[in-house]
């Protein structure tokens, strides 16, 4: 790599000022799993690399004490520089957001997950980003700090295009906020690669389901679904038509139809990894499988408790 300066600012304002300086003269650095590869190839040649990991809160996972007003339950705030392993191992994440646990554990290898960060995964903004479909399903918010102070961006607005985020000059991602989990939430993340494990996604699908009661006294529950697709568009995508169809009909035929709608919602391209036609059909297959697994888990957990214990789900390192 060509020489550069390394700076580890201690406060947000300093970091922002450093990143705002010059024409891409400074690069944000957290896990480095994408950045260092680009530095080594000479694709980018910044004058300085700004290590954000030491900034207050960036490596913490905590319940928010400043949730949106009128929210009865706290959000979970995950510092942007938290590693995949850190996120996947945290008791609150495991208890309430197992879909995100699965997603984090799908990244590369254990040792890479000791460096790759959830914030870096979002800022790199690959359409194949492993955590993105889960974050879309969970309605995550990206918290950003910049010259104008802090702001929050819905995750679906944070991803703007391949490799492009909503970050403005001098801004950096500080945290991912997850709303409190709804009752009976169950999520399944499926990923297809060229090797069984550890690959970049050719296609990924997150399916998420929960119960909503119109009011506390009502017996009837409404089943809500989220289906998010990765690696089949310029950004991760929600398959909203599929979600609505599934909410109306989650029988075998309904599942099949929802999977087809999800495939129709995908916008894949041909590239050196796979063709668009294959990807589209794999969306159908992975979506169907994800829905089937969710339904199976829901049936299992319904038998245990109406509130819906979190069933143990696949995905987890040793």
């Amino acid at each position: 790599m060509q020489p550069f300066d390394y700076i580890a600012p201690q406060d947000h304002a300093e970091a922002s000022a450093l990143l705002a300086d010059g024409d891409a003269a400074a690069r944000a650095f957290m896990g480095g799993t994408d950045l260092l590869i680009r530095l080594r190839s000479g694709l980018i040649q910044p004058r300085r690399v700004v290590d954000l990991k030491a900034l207050p809160g960036l490596r913490e996972i905590r319940l928010s004490d400043s949730s949106p007003p009128a929210a009865p339950v706290a959000w979970l705030v995950i510092g942007a520089a938290c590693t995949m392993n850190q996120v996947a191992a945290h008791p609150l994440v495991r208890r309430d957001y197992s879909l995100l646990v699965q997603a984090c554990n799908a990244v590369a290898s254990y040792q890479l997950r000791n460096r790759a960060t959830i914030g870096g995964n979002c800022c790199n903004a690959s359409p194949a980003a492993d955590t993105a479909p889960a974050l879309y399903c969970l309605d995550a918010m990206a918290e950003v700090y910049g010259p104008g102070g802090r702001r929050r961006i819905p995750i679906a607005d944070f991803f703007v295009g391949p490799g492009q985020t909503a970050l403005r000059k001098g801004e950096f991602l500080t945290a991912i906020h997850l709303p409190p989990p709804p009752a009976g939430a169950i999520g399944v993340f499926n990923k297809l690669g060229r090797t069984k494990v550890g690959d970049i996604a050719l296609v990924s699908v997150a399916v998420y389901c929960w119960m909503e009661r119109p009011d506390r006294s009502s017996e009837t529950c409404q089943v809500c679904w989220r289906i998010a697709l990765g690696a089949v568009g310029p950004t991760p995508l929600r398959a909203r038509e599929a979600e609505d169809a599934l909410a109306a009909d989650s029988s075998t035929a309904g599942t099949k139809r929802a999977a087809e709608l999800a495939a129709a919602a995908a916008r894949p391209i041909d590239d050196h990894r796979a063709s668009a036609a294959y990807r589209r059909d794999m969306v159908r297959v992975l979506t169907r499988r994800g829905i089937e697994t969710v339904l199976m888990l829901r049936a299992g957990s319904d038998a245990r408790s109406p509130a819906g214990d979190q069933p143990s789900l696949p995905g987890g390192p040793a």
């Binding site: 060509q2 300066d5 390394y6 650095f29 260092l36 392993n85 000791n114 494990v197 550890g198 040793a318």
Partner: protein, 159 residues
């Protein structure tokens, strides 16, 4: 830009100047001549450069030198104690798990970390723990065997 950092490697304290743009891999191999750590791709994909940083395995090719200020690092040279090989090292020899040997240091470190956090892994857990360590010679079969042997030896020692 040069930064002076202090860190331990295999229990030895070092206080040395490092370049900002050098990786931990370069520091270990070139400044400390710990050449047991190997360079296979410099992209975090092959695992030949894996070392323990504060007990956790990382690809040293993706860690910038200034980051390890204050850290405790273990490389393959630090697995044996005096002349006593780590049970994993013994098992690798016994099971024939080493051929060209280039992937071996990274795998030993990763396997040591695995057994530290999970002393009795299943075969699936072993395979998944090693998915980021590429081997072209052995087909992984003896490597998996060796880790099982070492895990078993560890369980027996604990009794």
């Amino acid at each position: 830009m040069s930064n002076t950092i202090s860190f331990t490697v295999n229990g030895e304290l070092y206080t040395i100047p490092v370049a900002s743009h050098h990786t931990l891999l370069q520091v270990l191999r070139e400044q400390l001549t710990l050449t047991g750590v190997k360079n296979g791709c410099e992209a975090g994909e092959c695992g030949a450069c894996v070392v323990l940083v504060d007990g956790e395995p990382v690809n040293s090719c993706l860690v910038l030198a200034p980051e390890v200020d204050g850290a405790a690092i273990i490389t393959v040279e630090g697995l044996a104690h005096d002349d006593q090989l780590d049970p994993l090292q013994e098992a690798f020899i016994a099971a024939g798990a080493t051929q060209c040997g280039f992937c071996t240091p990274g795998i030993l470190i990763n396997a040591r970390a695995l057994l530290n956090r999970n002393p009795d892994p299943t075969e699936t857990q072993i395979r998944e723990a090693l998915v980021g360590n590429l081997c072209r010679c052995t087909g992984y079969i003896r490597i998996i065997d060796a880790i099982k042997i070492a895990a078993q030896a560890g369980k027996e020692a604990a009794r």
